[in-house]
Symmetry: C2
Subunit: 161 residues, 2 copies
Amino acid sequence: MRIGELARRAGTTTRTLRHYESLGLLPARRAGNGYRTYDEDDLRLLRQIRVLQEFGFGLEETRPFVECLRAGHPAGDSCPASLEVYRRKLAELDDCIARLRHVREEVGTQLARAEREVAALRAAANVPGGPPAQCALAPPDTGTPPNAESPSDTEMEPSTP
Amino acid sequence: MRIGELARRAGTTTRTLRHYESLGLLPARRAGNGYRTYDEDDLRLLRQIRVLQEFGFGLEETRPFVECLRAGHPAGDSCPASLEVYRRKLAELDDCIARLRHVREEVGTQLARAEREVAALRAAANVPGGPPAQCALAPPDTGTPPNAESPSDTEMEPSTP
DNA sequence: GCTGGCCTTGACGCCCACGTCAACGTCTAC
DNA sequence: GTAGACGTTGACGTGGGCGTCAAGGCCAGC
């Protein structure tokens, strides 16, 4: 089959296939007229690549899987090198998830603090906004780096004529 | 103060500051000789930018915070626009974390399956699989980048005549 | 013969936050 | 006056995975 058909069957583009070939990831035989020629095995390789891509693997990380398949193994992950990539990826994922969770917590904390401060400023400016608003007056601490003061407006523009 | 000093005090580079200026994020006054001139407020803006950057905010996402500070507010997140960015970022983070966890689970499953299959293949090939090899030399796994020897083949070469 | 659809290579564009280099101006100290 | 530390603008490079032309070859059907 030619490049267009392979691309269609794999749900990708010819540009992508040429790119893979330029990396030596998915080399193609050539017909007499110079056209690239692929077979069903190439489709399998390509599908292996795409699946890993969706998992966030870089193209280079898919190489062991592809070479494993090309070496005649039943699956791309039948080879030790592929398992190693799996393990490295797991470690990366764990690390990444941990960092993101940390950031998420930080940002969540900042948002909560900022919302409290905005509410406090609004209350201090006797903006109707709230009923009794018992606990008014700026919570003194809880880790507030900025100096909470200058209660007047609360919107962007400094000038409120 | 001039650009070099600001960069040093903020732990960044002059190139970065020029980049921020080119985005209109941190404009500088100019001295008679054309040198950029900054003050303590600029340092605060810059620190705000850097903190958000470490949280993974894009430069454009820091803009509301910077403008809020420049508008005279006590903190970069004293303005509604900044709070909106916080919230959007939280949603993004949640989404990203969820996707990563899903992928992590998938990859973990694939690894476990592949390891089982490899073990099955090895057993079927009546490979001695090695002695008890309890805790001998070389920790069995837990992230051993180098290929811990080859008990027999199980390497890339198909050669299974 | 001609149109249209497929194919080829080559090369630049994109996104993002800068790094790096070049060629040159400015100021201070000796 | 000269070294050297700082500053200036401009432009290209990086990494990843392609998208998007451009200019042309090959082949089938009418």
